[in-house]
Symmetry: C2
Subunit: 212 residues, 2 copies
Protein backbone atom coordinates (compact mmCIF):
# COMPACT_ATOMS: atom_id res chain seq x y z
CA UNK A 1 0.00 0.00 0.00
CA UNK A 2 1.45 3.36 -0.93
CA UNK A 3 0.32 5.40 2.07
CA UNK A 4 3.12 7.87 1.58
CA UNK A 5 1.33 9.57 -1.25
CA UNK A 6 -1.86 10.26 0.69
CA UNK A 7 -2.10 13.80 1.96
CA UNK A 8 -3.00 14.69 5.54
CA UNK A 9 -6.27 16.32 4.45
CA UNK A 10 -7.42 13.14 2.67
CA UNK A 11 -6.50 11.12 5.76
CA UNK A 12 -8.56 13.47 7.94
CA UNK A 13 -11.59 12.72 5.76
CA UNK A 14 -11.14 8.94 5.75
CA UNK A 15 -12.85 8.31 9.11
CA UNK A 16 -15.96 10.04 7.76
CA UNK A 17 -15.91 7.94 4.57
CA UNK A 18 -15.51 4.88 6.76
CA UNK A 19 -18.46 5.81 8.98
CA UNK A 20 -20.75 6.43 6.02
CA UNK A 21 -19.63 3.26 4.24
CA UNK A 22 -20.42 1.24 7.39
CA UNK A 23 -23.90 2.77 7.40
CA UNK A 24 -24.41 1.95 3.72
CA UNK A 25 -23.26 -1.62 4.31
CA UNK A 26 -25.73 -1.96 7.20
CA UNK A 27 -28.45 -0.88 4.79
CA UNK A 28 -27.26 -3.59 2.35
CA UNK A 29 -26.25 -1.05 -0.26
CA UNK A 30 -23.63 -2.68 -2.52
CA UNK A 31 -22.51 0.15 -4.74
CA UNK A 32 -22.53 3.94 -4.50
CA UNK A 33 -21.82 6.62 -7.08
CA UNK A 34 -19.30 9.37 -6.44
CA UNK A 35 -22.21 11.84 -6.70
CA UNK A 36 -24.24 10.13 -3.99
CA UNK A 37 -21.17 9.68 -1.77
CA UNK A 38 -20.37 13.37 -2.26
CA UNK A 39 -23.88 14.28 -1.16
CA UNK A 40 -23.51 12.31 2.08
CA UNK A 41 -20.02 13.75 2.66
CA UNK A 42 -21.28 17.22 1.75
CA UNK A 43 -18.55 17.73 -0.83
CA UNK A 44 -18.29 17.47 -4.63
CA UNK A 45 -18.22 14.32 -6.75
CA UNK A 46 -14.88 15.40 -8.16
CA UNK A 47 -13.45 15.74 -4.62
CA UNK A 48 -14.65 12.21 -3.83
CA UNK A 49 -13.12 10.81 -7.01
CA UNK A 50 -9.86 12.62 -6.28
CA UNK A 51 -9.79 11.38 -2.67
CA UNK A 52 -10.48 7.78 -3.57
CA UNK A 53 -8.12 7.79 -6.52
CA UNK A 54 -5.31 8.33 -4.03
CA UNK A 55 -5.47 4.72 -3.02
CA UNK A 56 -6.27 2.78 -6.16
CA UNK A 57 -8.87 3.87 -8.70
CA UNK A 58 -11.37 1.07 -8.28
CA UNK A 59 -14.49 3.06 -9.05
CA UNK A 60 -15.57 2.53 -12.63
CA UNK A 61 -17.28 5.21 -14.66
CA UNK A 62 -21.00 4.59 -14.54
CA UNK A 63 -20.78 1.74 -12.03
CA UNK A 64 -19.93 3.59 -8.85
CA UNK A 65 -17.85 2.27 -5.97
CA UNK A 66 -18.23 -1.16 -4.39
CA UNK A 67 -19.15 -0.29 -0.78
CA UNK A 68 -17.56 -3.25 1.05
CA UNK A 69 -14.38 -3.21 -0.99
CA UNK A 70 -13.96 0.52 -0.47
CA UNK A 71 -14.65 0.15 3.26
CA UNK A 72 -12.06 -2.62 3.56
CA UNK A 73 -9.52 -0.55 1.67
CA UNK A 74 -10.02 2.31 4.15
CA UNK A 75 -9.75 -0.12 7.09
CA UNK A 76 -6.35 -1.12 5.73
CA UNK A 77 -5.14 2.44 5.21
CA UNK A 78 -6.24 3.63 8.64
CA UNK A 79 -4.89 0.43 10.19
CA UNK A 80 -8.18 -0.37 11.89
CA UNK A 81 -7.40 -4.07 11.49
CA UNK A 82 -4.24 -3.92 13.60
CA UNK A 83 -6.05 -4.59 16.86
CA UNK A 84 -3.85 -2.25 18.86
CA UNK A 85 -4.00 -2.79 22.61
CA UNK A 86 -5.21 0.18 24.62
CA UNK A 87 -5.98 1.16 28.19
CA UNK A 88 -8.23 3.95 29.39
CA UNK A 89 -7.20 6.00 32.40
CA UNK A 90 -9.84 7.80 34.47
CA UNK A 91 -13.31 6.33 34.87
CA UNK A 92 -15.03 9.63 35.61
CA UNK A 93 -17.92 10.85 33.49
CA UNK A 94 -16.00 11.25 30.23
CA UNK A 95 -13.97 8.06 30.65
CA UNK A 96 -17.09 6.09 31.48
CA UNK A 97 -18.98 7.53 28.50
CA UNK A 98 -16.12 6.55 26.20
CA UNK A 99 -15.63 3.07 27.65
CA UNK A 100 -19.37 2.43 27.56
CA UNK A 101 -20.29 3.81 24.15
CA UNK A 102 -17.31 3.58 21.81
CA UNK A 103 -17.00 0.54 19.55
CA UNK A 104 -13.26 0.31 20.08
CA UNK A 105 -12.80 -2.76 17.93
CA UNK A 106 -14.35 -0.99 14.94
CA UNK A 107 -11.96 1.91 15.60
CA UNK A 108 -8.78 -0.16 15.59
CA UNK A 109 -8.33 -0.78 19.29
CA UNK A 110 -8.86 -3.53 21.79
CA UNK A 111 -9.65 -1.88 25.13
CA UNK A 112 -7.88 -4.17 27.58
CA UNK A 113 -8.21 -2.39 30.91
CA UNK A 114 -9.45 0.74 32.67
CA UNK A 115 -7.54 2.42 35.50
CA UNK A 116 -8.74 4.68 38.27
CA UNK A 117 -7.57 5.65 41.74
CA UNK A 118 -11.06 5.68 43.25
CA UNK A 119 -11.09 2.59 45.49
CA UNK A 120 -14.90 2.40 45.45
CA UNK A 121 -15.03 1.58 41.72
CA UNK A 122 -11.90 -0.57 41.35
CA UNK A 123 -13.04 -4.11 40.52
CA UNK A 124 -16.18 -2.90 38.71
CA UNK A 125 -16.49 -3.33 34.95
CA UNK A 126 -17.63 -1.02 32.17
CA UNK A 127 -18.74 -2.87 29.08
CA UNK A 128 -17.03 -6.00 30.43
CA UNK A 129 -13.70 -4.21 30.87
CA UNK A 130 -12.29 -4.34 34.41
CA UNK A 131 -11.37 -1.19 36.36
CA UNK A 132 -7.92 -1.67 37.93
CA UNK A 133 -6.08 0.35 40.55
CA UNK A 134 -3.96 3.09 38.92
CA UNK A 135 -1.07 1.95 41.09
CA UNK A 136 -0.74 -1.16 38.92
CA UNK A 137 -0.73 0.70 35.59
CA UNK A 138 3.00 0.45 34.82
CA UNK A 139 3.23 -3.29 35.51
CA UNK A 140 0.05 -3.98 33.58
CA UNK A 141 1.14 -2.06 30.49
CA UNK A 142 4.60 -3.56 30.48
CA UNK A 143 3.35 -7.12 30.92
CA UNK A 144 0.62 -6.76 28.31
CA UNK A 145 2.50 -4.78 25.64
CA UNK A 146 -0.02 -1.96 25.64
CA UNK A 147 0.25 0.31 22.59
CA UNK A 148 -1.96 3.26 23.47
CA UNK A 149 -3.64 5.04 26.36
CA UNK A 150 -6.79 7.14 26.45
CA UNK A 151 -6.36 9.85 29.07
CA UNK A 152 -9.58 10.99 30.72
CA UNK A 153 -8.04 12.38 33.89
CA UNK A 154 -7.58 15.88 35.32
CA UNK A 155 -4.65 17.86 33.96
CA UNK A 156 -2.98 17.84 37.38
CA UNK A 157 -2.80 14.03 37.37
CA UNK A 158 -1.51 13.78 33.80
CA UNK A 159 2.28 14.31 34.18
CA UNK A 160 2.67 11.46 36.68
CA UNK A 161 0.39 9.04 34.80
CA UNK A 162 1.98 9.81 31.42
CA UNK A 163 5.45 9.28 32.88
CA UNK A 164 4.46 5.84 34.20
CA UNK A 165 2.86 4.90 30.88
CA UNK A 166 5.78 6.18 28.85
CA UNK A 167 8.31 4.33 30.98
CA UNK A 168 6.20 1.19 30.52
CA UNK A 169 6.50 1.54 26.74
CA UNK A 170 3.20 3.26 25.89
CA UNK A 171 3.94 5.80 23.16
CA UNK A 172 0.51 6.68 21.76
CA UNK A 173 -2.04 8.86 23.51
CA UNK A 174 -5.53 10.09 23.04
CA UNK A 175 -5.46 13.08 25.31
CA UNK A 176 -8.51 14.77 26.83
CA UNK A 177 -6.40 16.81 29.24
CA UNK A 178 -4.65 20.10 28.55
CA UNK A 179 -1.32 18.58 29.54
CA UNK A 180 1.12 19.01 26.67
CA UNK A 181 2.44 15.46 26.25
CA UNK A 182 4.52 16.19 23.16
CA UNK A 183 6.15 19.14 24.91
CA UNK A 184 7.57 16.63 27.39
CA UNK A 185 8.12 13.56 25.20
CA UNK A 186 9.13 14.08 21.59
CA UNK A 187 8.79 10.49 20.36
CA UNK A 188 5.08 10.00 21.06
CA UNK A 189 1.98 10.19 18.89
CA UNK A 190 -0.84 12.21 20.38
CA UNK A 191 -4.35 13.14 19.36
CA UNK A 192 -5.50 15.94 21.63
CA UNK A 193 -9.19 16.54 22.23
CA UNK A 194 -9.52 20.06 23.58
CA UNK A 195 -13.26 20.42 24.09
CA UNK A 196 -12.93 23.98 25.37
CA UNK A 197 -11.14 25.05 22.17
CA UNK A 198 -14.02 23.67 20.09
CA UNK A 199 -16.56 25.60 22.19
CA UNK A 200 -14.57 28.79 21.57
CA UNK A 201 -14.49 28.07 17.84
CA UNK A 202 -18.29 27.89 17.84
CA UNK A 203 -18.39 31.16 19.75
CA UNK A 204 -16.16 32.73 17.09
CA UNK A 205 -18.46 31.61 14.26
CA UNK A 206 -21.44 33.12 16.05
CA UNK A 207 -19.57 36.34 16.71
CA UNK A 208 -18.35 36.52 13.13
CA UNK A 209 -21.93 36.39 11.87
CA UNK A 210 -22.86 39.20 14.22
CA UNK A 211 -20.01 41.32 12.87
CA UNK A 212 -20.88 40.74 9.22
Amino acid sequence: MSNNKISKSVIRRLPRYYRFLCELEEKNIDRISSGKLAEIMRTTASQVRQDLNCFGGFGHQGYGYPVSKLKNEIIGILGLNNNYKAVLVGAGHIGTAIAAHMSFEKLGFNLCAIFDNNKTIIGNTINDVLIHDSESIADYCENNNIDAAFLCIPKSAAPEIVKRLYDAGVKNFWNFTHYDIQGEYSDVKVENVHLSDIIMTLCYSMNEEKNE
Copy 2:
Protein backbone atom coordinates in the same frame (compact mmCIF):
# COMPACT_ATOMS: atom_id res chain seq x y z
CA MET B 1 -12.07 45.12 14.45
CA SER B 2 -11.17 43.80 11.03
CA ASN B 3 -11.97 40.13 11.52
CA ASN B 4 -12.44 39.59 7.80
CA LYS B 5 -8.73 39.55 7.21
CA ILE B 6 -8.02 36.78 9.72
CA SER B 7 -7.59 33.38 8.12
CA LYS B 8 -9.36 30.26 9.34
CA SER B 9 -6.07 28.65 10.38
CA VAL B 10 -5.16 31.60 12.61
CA ILE B 11 -8.64 31.48 14.14
CA ARG B 12 -8.20 27.76 14.88
CA ARG B 13 -5.04 28.61 16.85
CA LEU B 14 -6.58 31.46 18.86
CA PRO B 15 -8.22 29.25 21.51
CA ARG B 16 -4.80 27.82 22.31
CA TYR B 17 -3.23 31.28 22.56
CA TYR B 18 -6.11 32.24 24.82
CA ARG B 19 -5.64 29.21 27.09
CA PHE B 20 -1.91 29.81 27.45
CA LEU B 21 -2.37 33.54 28.04
CA CYS B 22 -4.87 32.77 30.83
CA GLU B 23 -2.28 30.50 32.41
CA LEU B 24 0.41 33.17 32.15
CA GLU B 25 -1.92 35.73 33.71
CA GLU B 26 -2.66 33.36 36.59
CA LYS B 27 1.09 33.15 37.16
CA ASN B 28 1.22 36.98 37.21
CA ILE B 29 3.37 37.13 34.11
CA ASP B 30 2.89 40.57 32.50
CA ARG B 31 4.81 40.30 29.26
CA ILE B 32 5.94 37.47 27.02
CA SER B 33 8.29 37.38 24.05
CA SER B 34 7.25 35.88 20.73
CA GLY B 35 10.02 33.30 21.23
CA LYS B 36 8.70 32.18 24.61
CA LEU B 37 5.10 32.15 23.35
CA ALA B 38 6.23 30.11 20.34
CA GLU B 39 7.85 27.61 22.67
CA ILE B 40 4.60 27.13 24.62
CA MET B 41 2.58 26.92 21.40
CA ARG B 42 5.19 24.59 19.90
CA THR B 43 5.61 26.73 16.81
CA THR B 44 8.12 29.34 15.59
CA ALA B 45 8.52 32.92 16.81
CA SER B 46 7.91 34.13 13.28
CA GLN B 47 4.61 32.21 13.14
CA VAL B 48 3.56 33.83 16.43
CA ARG B 49 4.47 37.30 15.18
CA GLN B 50 2.63 36.67 11.92
CA ASP B 51 -0.48 35.35 13.76
CA LEU B 52 -0.63 38.24 16.19
CA ASN B 53 0.08 40.85 13.55
CA CYS B 54 -3.23 39.87 11.95
CA PHE B 55 -5.08 41.78 14.59
CA GLY B 56 -3.00 44.82 15.41
CA GLY B 57 0.75 44.77 15.84
CA PHE B 58 1.00 45.63 19.50
CA GLY B 59 4.08 43.60 20.32
CA HIS B 60 7.14 45.84 20.35
CA GLN B 61 10.56 44.61 19.31
CA GLY B 62 12.49 43.71 22.42
CA TYR B 63 9.56 44.26 24.79
CA GLY B 64 7.39 41.24 23.99
CA TYR B 65 3.63 41.13 24.19
CA PRO B 66 1.56 42.47 27.07
CA VAL B 67 -0.22 39.32 28.33
CA SER B 68 -3.51 40.84 29.55
CA LYS B 69 -3.91 43.14 26.57
CA LEU B 70 -3.27 40.31 24.14
CA LYS B 71 -5.68 38.06 26.02
CA ASN B 72 -8.39 40.73 25.93
CA GLU B 73 -7.84 41.28 22.23
CA ILE B 74 -8.36 37.54 21.60
CA ILE B 75 -11.48 37.57 23.81
CA GLY B 76 -12.86 40.27 21.53
CA ILE B 77 -12.01 38.47 18.31
CA LEU B 78 -13.42 35.14 19.45
CA GLY B 79 -16.44 36.95 20.90
CA LEU B 80 -15.98 35.34 24.31
CA ASN B 81 -17.43 38.50 25.91
CA ASN B 82 -20.81 38.17 24.17
CA ASN B 83 -22.30 36.01 26.90
CA TYR B 84 -24.27 33.87 24.49
CA LYS B 85 -27.10 31.91 26.08
CA ALA B 86 -26.82 28.16 25.77
CA VAL B 87 -28.62 25.01 26.83
CA LEU B 88 -27.20 21.52 27.12
CA VAL B 89 -29.31 18.56 26.04
CA GLY B 90 -28.62 15.12 27.49
CA ALA B 91 -27.34 14.72 31.04
CA GLY B 92 -25.73 11.34 30.49
CA HIS B 93 -22.04 10.78 31.18
CA ILE B 94 -20.69 13.15 28.53
CA GLY B 95 -23.31 15.85 29.15
CA THR B 96 -22.70 15.68 32.89
CA ALA B 97 -18.94 15.86 32.43
CA ILE B 98 -19.28 18.94 30.27
CA ALA B 99 -21.82 20.68 32.49
CA ALA B 100 -19.74 19.92 35.58
CA HIS B 101 -16.26 20.72 34.35
CA MET B 102 -16.40 23.33 31.58
CA SER B 103 -15.99 26.98 32.53
CA PHE B 104 -18.68 28.11 30.12
CA GLU B 105 -18.43 31.77 31.02
CA LYS B 106 -14.74 31.81 30.13
CA LEU B 107 -15.65 30.16 26.82
CA GLY B 108 -18.25 32.71 25.75
CA PHE B 109 -21.42 31.06 26.97
CA ASN B 110 -23.85 31.29 29.82
CA LEU B 111 -25.24 27.79 30.42
CA CYS B 112 -28.87 28.52 31.29
CA ALA B 113 -30.48 25.10 31.46
CA ILE B 114 -29.94 21.38 30.99
CA PHE B 115 -32.58 19.09 29.45
CA ASP B 116 -33.11 15.37 29.79
CA ASN B 117 -36.00 12.95 29.41
CA ASN B 118 -35.00 10.81 32.40
CA LYS B 119 -37.67 11.63 35.02
CA THR B 120 -35.42 10.50 37.88
CA ILE B 121 -32.91 13.32 37.32
CA ILE B 122 -35.25 16.15 36.27
CA GLY B 123 -35.15 18.78 39.00
CA ASN B 124 -31.57 17.97 39.98
CA THR B 125 -28.80 20.47 39.30
CA ILE B 126 -25.31 20.14 37.86
CA ASN B 127 -23.02 22.97 38.84
CA ASP B 128 -26.10 24.98 39.94
CA VAL B 129 -27.80 24.56 36.55
CA LEU B 130 -31.25 22.96 36.71
CA ILE B 131 -32.14 19.84 34.72
CA HIS B 132 -35.50 20.38 32.97
CA ASP B 133 -37.83 17.96 31.22
CA SER B 134 -36.98 17.73 27.49
CA GLU B 135 -40.67 18.20 26.77
CA SER B 136 -40.33 21.86 27.75
CA ILE B 137 -37.30 22.58 25.57
CA ALA B 138 -39.05 24.51 22.78
CA ASP B 139 -40.96 26.82 25.11
CA TYR B 140 -37.90 27.40 27.25
CA CYS B 141 -35.64 28.30 24.33
CA GLU B 142 -38.19 30.58 22.74
CA ASN B 143 -38.99 32.40 25.97
CA ASN B 144 -35.35 32.82 26.91
CA ASN B 145 -33.84 33.68 23.51
CA ILE B 146 -31.38 30.82 23.62
CA ASP B 147 -28.56 31.16 21.09
CA ALA B 148 -26.87 27.77 21.15
CA ALA B 149 -27.37 24.17 22.17
CA PHE B 150 -24.85 21.54 23.20
CA LEU B 151 -26.08 18.15 22.04
CA CYS B 152 -24.95 15.21 24.18
CA ILE B 153 -27.71 12.80 23.18
CA PRO B 154 -27.83 9.58 21.14
CA LYS B 155 -27.92 10.03 17.36
CA SER B 156 -31.41 8.51 17.22
CA ALA B 157 -32.82 11.28 19.44
CA ALA B 158 -31.08 14.10 17.55
CA PRO B 159 -33.43 14.78 14.59
CA GLU B 160 -36.46 15.40 16.83
CA ILE B 161 -34.55 17.51 19.39
CA VAL B 162 -32.78 19.58 16.74
CA LYS B 163 -36.09 20.26 14.98
CA ARG B 164 -37.63 21.55 18.22
CA LEU B 165 -34.58 23.70 18.94
CA TYR B 166 -34.41 25.04 15.40
CA ASP B 167 -38.11 25.91 15.36
CA ALA B 168 -37.59 27.71 18.66
CA GLY B 169 -34.89 29.86 17.08
CA VAL B 170 -31.72 28.05 18.14
CA LYS B 171 -29.30 28.16 15.21
CA ASN B 172 -25.95 27.23 16.74
CA PHE B 173 -24.94 23.75 17.79
CA TRP B 174 -22.10 21.95 19.42
CA ASN B 175 -22.78 18.46 18.23
CA PHE B 176 -21.50 15.27 19.87
CA THR B 177 -23.81 13.06 17.82
CA HIS B 178 -23.22 11.74 14.31
CA TYR B 179 -26.46 13.35 13.14
CA ASP B 180 -25.67 15.66 10.21
CA ILE B 181 -27.38 18.88 11.33
CA GLN B 182 -26.12 20.97 8.42
CA GLY B 183 -27.36 18.37 5.95
CA GLU B 184 -30.88 19.11 7.24
CA TYR B 185 -30.63 22.83 8.05
CA SER B 186 -28.46 25.00 5.87
CA ASP B 187 -28.57 28.20 7.96
CA VAL B 188 -27.04 26.85 11.16
CA LYS B 189 -23.53 26.99 12.64
CA VAL B 190 -22.25 23.67 13.89
CA GLU B 191 -19.10 22.44 15.55
CA ASN B 192 -19.09 18.65 15.37
CA VAL B 193 -17.13 16.60 17.85
CA HIS B 194 -16.73 13.15 16.35
CA LEU B 195 -14.73 11.32 18.99
CA SER B 196 -14.65 8.10 16.95
CA ASP B 197 -13.02 9.93 14.03
CA ILE B 198 -10.28 11.20 16.32
CA ILE B 199 -9.62 7.68 17.62
CA MET B 200 -9.26 6.45 14.03
CA THR B 201 -6.85 9.28 13.26
CA LEU B 202 -4.63 8.13 16.14
CA CYS B 203 -4.86 4.59 14.79
CA TYR B 204 -3.73 5.86 11.39
CA SER B 205 -0.68 7.62 12.87
CA MET B 206 0.32 4.44 14.66
CA ASN B 207 -0.18 2.38 11.52
CA GLU B 208 1.75 4.87 9.44
CA GLU B 209 4.75 4.53 11.73
CA LYS B 210 4.58 0.76 11.39
CA ASN B 211 4.60 1.07 7.60
CA GLU B 212 7.53 3.46 7.49
